[in-house]
């Protein structure tokens, strides 16, 4: 056992230099992508409305991956999990995404402070005056309070991300198990703060696109998507790093199997929450609740159906077997598939609010995704360039390496 551990601590586990080129490339691609999007939307598209909605989809995509990773890190410490010590650093690195995302949120925030209601109907002050429901909600849904909340969210997330990443990275050098205890102590209040901020962010940024509508389970719905996205991304990253020669000994088929299991579990959890939300609204059949699904069951009905099949039924049937989860190629396929479906899920949450009569798929959906993911991923790469992809001094690492699924 001891020699296995020695093997895993290799200096080249630091992705470091190899990543810098890639990160710069991503940043450049990101800038080009965003530029193209603005051009397409202004020249051929629906202007500010189209741009901001598509931008929000891409932003939410990166945001959910990041938040899912943050939750993963928190929960590993909270439960003192052993198996995950070999893959936790990857999630930790993704939590650094909170920093570029704070910057990427600025366009939305600034436009709202300038009074734009391209995205949120509740920011149209004149219109709100004539709308009893929006007037009633205006104490919460107004530009000032919205911005304050957004700032709080980012402060909490960046604070938590930095706390856990840098403590963990310092442990690589210092090797002190006390640092693990410290992170475990922080994980409980951290989880609490996370659950509140993540739910309210989901309400603020995604649910308030339909300001008349409300669903108390919506925060959990988005959270379920966060974890699907996080596990898919972690699986893809692990497979990619291994193909590049990293983590060869530290992450074995058992860990991949576990990532697959979690991805599968949260795919089911997503379906459970999605159905619960739909089911209760269907049963109660109250206009102010059904309106949201009405927008998604007319022109968008094929997308809704595809989402139910693609996001749940197909993976449920074909990703259940342990043999599939233990096969790197198949795991990779279903992880990519899960990410695509997660993107579609967000698209399906956001876009019907812009246009319920017609589907809105466009080239700019791709360019904006490249743009936001590029800037997000590139910044993460640069921030993490000196970090090891393995928490080499984690006191639970031997346990993780010895771990076997029954």
């Amino acid at each position: 056992m001891a020699d296995t551990l020695d093997h895993s601590i290799e200096p080249q586990e630091t992705v470091g230099r190899a990543c810098v080129g890639l990160s710069t490339g991503l940043l450049v691609a990101g800038a080009i992508g965003l530029g193209l999007t603005v051009a397409i939307e202004l020249l051929f598209g629906t202007g500010a409305k189209g741009f901001f909605h598509r931008y929000l989809v891409a932003f939410a995509f990166c945001m959910t991956i990041t938040l899912g990773s943050l939750f993963f890190v928190l929960i590993q410490h909270l439960t003192k999990a052993g198996w995950s010590a070999s893959v936790r650093r990857i999630a930790e690195i993704y939590t650094l995404g909170t920093i570029p995302l704070a910057v990427l949120f600025l366009p939305i925030l600034v436009s709202i402070l300038l009074g734009s209601h391209a995205l949120y109907e509740w920011n149209d002050v004149e219109h709100v005056k004539t709308d009893a429901l929006l007037l009633g909600k205006s104490g919460y849904l107004n530009a000032g309070f919205f911005s304050v909340r957004a700032v709080i969210y980012f402060l909490v997330w960046i604070g938590l991300a930095r706390l856990f990443v840098y403590t963990s990275v310092r442990q690589d050098v210092v090797g002190s198990p006390d640092l693990t205890s410290r992170m475990e102590a922080w994980s409980a209040p951290g989880t609490l703060a996370f659950s509140l901020t993540a739910s309210f962010a989901a309400f603020d940024w995604l649910m308030s696109l339909a300001p008349h509508w409300y669903s108390t389970i919506f925060g959990v719905y988005v959270f379920a998507g966060c974890l699907v996205a996080c596990f898919a991304t972690m699986a893809i990253t692990v497979l990619w790093l291994k193909s590049k020669g990293f983590l060869k000994t530290a992450v074995n088929v058992e860990h991949q199997h576990d990532l697959g299991k979690l991805l599968f579990a949260f795919t089911c959890f997503w379906a459970y929450i999605a159905f619960s939300q739909y089911f209760l609204i269907w049963y109660a059949n109250i206009p102010e609740e059904t309106v949201w699904y009405k927008a998604r069951l007319s022109a968008w009905k094929p997308v809704s159906g595809f989402l139910a099949i693609g996001h749940f039924i197909l993976p449920f049937i074909f990703f259940m077997s342990r043999h599939i989860k233990r096969n790197s190629y198949l795991l990779g396929f279903w992880a990519v598939w899960g990410l695509l479906m997660h993107w579609l899920d967000l698209y399906w949450i956001v876009m019907p609010q812009m246009s319920s009569e017609a589907l809105t798929f466009s080239l700019s959906d791709v360019t904006v995704l490249v743009g936001v993911v590029g800037i997000w991923g590139g910044t993460i790469g640069l921030l993490a360039r000196d970090m090891s992809v393995l928490a080499v001094s984690d006191p639970r690492l031997p346990e993780a390496l010895a771990f076997k699924n029954l």
Partner: protein, 471 residues
């Protein structure tokens, strides 16, 4: 019996059923297991106090088919639940509940999910038991010395004597060679391997107790009972709610049935259409039935005066509801139910009740009027309607029993009966005429007791009636 005894005695001779060996560490047992596997044994097992990684492989155990059993159970649970709900909601009891479609997939899914989970849990549990050949009430291993340590700190390999490769001398030596200690031979229980008698008795008793309730229920269902059924489960049979005609302390007047509040009209109670509801062109200057409290005063009015007053009321002369063949058929049916007993099927006042009353010379019996007599033929339909609704002289009113529409249908049918008396022969369909002529030739008609076949056809005109139609 005696034969059986000897047989069980011979079974009580201890038989060699296997060998068992003890190992100290998981690694030792793992390694030994590999060698046993490689030696080609198939009926053997390893007993460890905790799960040992890699033991499945070391023992050469093929992946279990249990997942497929579970999958099968889950799928059948899901589809079974779906089918059940479909049949119940869409086929057997298609009720619309809170405006939902009788069958929709949404409300079915939770039930399908639950049943799928339940059945897959059963499949996993019972499938596991079945595949392992459990439950067993005894195992020869339990009598091996020191075997209880399999639950704390020792590891065992046991080879079954039923194994094709098993050899009494060699197998024990083989285990010893693999590093096993305390190698023991296993023998069947000299006391016999039977299921304990007391358990048999207990099982029998509990089976009897279990089937008692269904037997009682079944017996009650197929036999007559002089007593009302046992009311064990009250459900909602006894409620605090008040039923009609009961009293209450809730209202000052103690009545549970409340009169309509002043100035309100109950649903369906708005009867402003006097043509339809009273058979009158207008009610001005008339005292209506609704003003019932005034009735005692009317009793002192001279009947002759009242009758004369009644004749002069502005009765409607045409039926105020559309008259179709369906309405007439309905009228015929209702007439036969409500009127024919007295007025006769043909309306001539020769109903069975009346005939019988006359036969018995009942002194108080008033003979019903012939509805096809000249006096009634001349009456406006509104007056006949009023007769049906409120009664006349010795005839009781039927307004409470027959709906307004049905009353008008009856009136229309009475008019059809009357019309049939004066219908020209040309009104009778040719084929019916032929038939009736043939019948008349076969048997000379008697009295007017026969009912007309179908009212509008007016077959009655052919009888012994004095109608001018009989050309």
């Amino acid at each position: 019996m005696a034969h059986k005894k000897t047989e069980s005695k011979s079974a009580a001779q201890p038989q060699l059923t296997g060998v068992v060996a003890e190992f100290e560490t998981p690694d030792a047992v793992l390694h030994a297991a590999e060698l046993v596997r490689d030696a080609g044994y198939t009926r053997w097992d390893v007993h460890t106090p905790f799960p040992v990684h890699g033991i499945d492989e070391a023992m050469g155990i093929r992946p279990t088919i249990l997942p497929w059993i579970v999958a099968f159970m889950a799928v059948s649970g899901f589809t079974g639940a779906l089918l059940l709900q479909y049949l119940a909601n869409a086929v057997f009891y298609p009720f619309i509940i809170s405006g939902k479609p009788t069958f929709a997939i949404e409300p079915c899914l939770p039930v399908c999910f639950e049943v799928a989970v339940l059945l897959s849990a059963f499949g996993a549990f019972f499938g596991m038991l079945g595949l392992n050949g459990l439950p067993r009430h005894a195992n020869d291993l339990f009598r091996a010395a020191g075997f209880t340590r399999a639950t704390s700190d020792r590891f065992f390999i046991a080879i079954d004597a039923a194994d094709r490769k098993f050899n009494e001398a060699e197998s024990a030596g083989f285990l010893e060679k693999l590093g096993g200690t305390h190698v023991q031979k296993l023998f069947s229980d000299p006391a016999g391997d039977q299921f304990p008698q007391v358990l048999h008795t207990l099982a029998l008793i509990s089976a009897c107790i279990a089937i008692t309730p269904p037997v009682i229920v079944a017996a009650r269902r197929v036999t007559d009972q002089p007593f009302p059924r046992l009311h064990l489960i009250q459900d909602m049979d006894m409620q605090v709610k008040k039923k009609t005609q009961k009293t209450t302390t809730l209202f000052a007047d103690g009545r549970i049935m409340r009169p309509a509040i002043n100035g309100t009209v109950p649903r369906g109670g708005l009867m402003t259409d006097t043509r339809k509801f009273a058979g009158l062109e207008s009610t001005s200057g008339l005292m209506m039935v609704a003003d019932a409290p005034a009735a005692p005063a009317a009793a002192v009015v001279d009947p002759a005066v009242a009758a004369a007053e009644r004749e002069k009321r502005p009765w409607v002369k045409t039926v105020p509801v559309p008259v179709t063949l369906d309405v007439l058929k309905r009228g015929q049916e209702r007439y036969r139910i409500y009127c024919s007993a007295c007025h006769g099927l043909g309306g001539e006042g020769d109903g069975l009740v009346s005939l019988r009353a006359v036969e018995l010379e009942q002194p108080t019996w008033t003979r019903p009027v012939s509805l096809v007599s000249e006096g009634i033929v001349k009456q406006p339909v509104g007056q006949i309607f009023d007769t049906v609704t409120n009664g006349v002289r010795r005839m009781a009113g039927y307004g409470d029993q027959i709906s307004v529409e049905d009353r008008w249908a009856i009136v229309a049918y009475v008019k059809a009966l009357q019309r049939s008396r004066v219908a020209p022969i040309a009104d009778v369909p040719v084929e019916l005429l032929e038939k009736l002529k043939a019948e008349a030739a076969a048997a000379p008609p008697v009295g007017g007791a026969a009912a007309p076949a179908v009212a509008p056809a007016g077959a009655g005109g052919l009888g012994a009636s004095p109608a001018p139609a009989a050309k």
